[in-house]
Symmetry: C2
Subunit: 266 residues, 2 copies
């Protein structure tokens, strides 16, 4: 079957009106689909109200025991269940999950090298049978950024990685498209101009844009991730704004489509 994996980030989750608008678009998104979300900003806010300050190194959250409890409460509890309840209202049969539920995502606590990230998991295995069962029952999995090590430990896990690992794992038996919704309209020639979208990137164009320094810093891991997914069998990756998701589903240009080679277009 055709499966779409759609990832939303804090720029959508942290604003109730934006989340509502997005969920409506998501409800109209055709075909079998899986929603993946994090919720870092809200977790930081709740943590602060409980006296647990977020500790970040190079933009990455350090997950100590208290922080793990908070992200578990906020991602798997508050955000996940509000999304599920809102999708149910929209007649979408959503079912919220962490990676522990039904052993959906087994991960491994990140080994301590120079930095101890704490209770952070790197993904080992996706339970594609469970996802297939749910999708066949017309259930929409809503997956939050918590996994487990199958030894009883929950682990905080990057939502971008969850999306791409799920996409790769499912692409063995299905045609999978991956949609990253983020705070920009796509890969931009001019970062400050949402109209300067690069509509299509393949490996040749990517190499060129990096050389010309059009693509740099935070965009590079995102695109590396996208190409890695394509190289492992994912059909198509899209990066853009949540509000353009339906246009993207219809194949209209409004965001950046990432394809392995130019000839994949034909």
């Amino acid at each position: 079957m055709n499966i779409s994996i759609i990832k939303i980030g804090g720029n959508v989750i942290d604003y109730p009106e934006k989340l509502d608008e997005f969920l409506y678009l998501f409800s109209r998104f055709p075909g079998k689909k899986i929603l993946v979300h994090g919720g870092g900003v809200l977790a930081s806010k709740f943590g602060e109200s409980m006296g647990v300050m977020p500790e970040m190194i190079d933009g990455r959250r350090i997950t100590d025991k208290d922080t793990l409890d908070i992200v578990t409460m906020v991602y798997a509890g508050l955000i996940n269940k509000q999304i599920v309840a809102n999708l149910q209202k929209l007649k979408q049969n959503a079912l919220g999950m962490t990676g522990a539920d039904g052993n959906l995502i087994q991960s491994k606590k990140r080994p301590v090298k120079t930095i101890d990230y704490g209770f952070v998991g790197d993904i080992k295995e996706i339970n594609t049978d469970l996802l297939s069962t749910l999708l066949c029952e017309d259930i929409i999995p809503v997956v939050c950024a918590i996994t487990h090590d199958k030894k009883g430990q929950l682990l905080n896990t990057n939502a971008d990685s969850i999306s791409s690992e799920i996409a790769v794992a499912l692409s063995g038996r299905h045609k999978v498209n991956l949609y990253y919704c983020f705070n920009k309209a796509g890969v931009l020639i001019d970062e400050k101009n949402d109209d300067s979208i690069v509509p299509l990137i393949n490996e040749d164009i990517y190499a060129e844009l990096k050389k010309e320094d059009v693509i740099h810093s935070g965009m590079i891991p995102k695109l590396d991730n996208a190409f890695a997914a394509l190289n492992k069998g994912v059909n198509h990756v899209w990066i853009g704004k949540a509000e353009n998701l339906l246009l993207a589903a219809k194949g209209k240009v409004s965001g950046t489509n990432i394809e392995k080679h130019r000839y994949d277009l034909y």
Copy 2:
């Protein structure tokens, strides 16, 4: 199929060692099973640390918007996912759910009469098809005390009621046993003596024990609930201590067995 619904309360959930011990017993509990839990004490503790004080009227929690967020975080997030991760460690394929997930439990916000309980739901409908699908896949549903109204609103819902409503709904097509784990060894002749268990209660014995004032106050709604479940098709109800759950499963007397009529024993 035979299905056991097992409900645990705060006396198990609020103590990590007790919860671990219980989950081990639960993992050895034979056959198809569903776990139902609340978590009120932990929710009150977290609420207080965030400056949200629990408001109770006649021992019942009033669920305002902030309290709803907290119980959603604590029940559906922290407690539910820790239970699921621990069961996964014990090779039990647990999947945590609220009533919103897969539209498992639809409820209705309790109408305001003399008391406004806030975002509290009374159960309308159980999605037995979803439970059957999960149980057939050897998945163990772990259900927390949150439901939804299918209009986008999450609702705080009594875990005892969730257990008995699930039991009743499934009893249409299955043989269902209901186990209430609580802080006493069963129905006691002498409240302070755990050895004074009444091993069996049927409607005749219940009437007599109420007349003699052996059963009174908090125990009456619990038993009324149990008899209501039996009258609606549930096979058998047990009330006792979590640590005696396996004995109960083996039919050994260690707790109170509740049966409709005396002749049900034969």
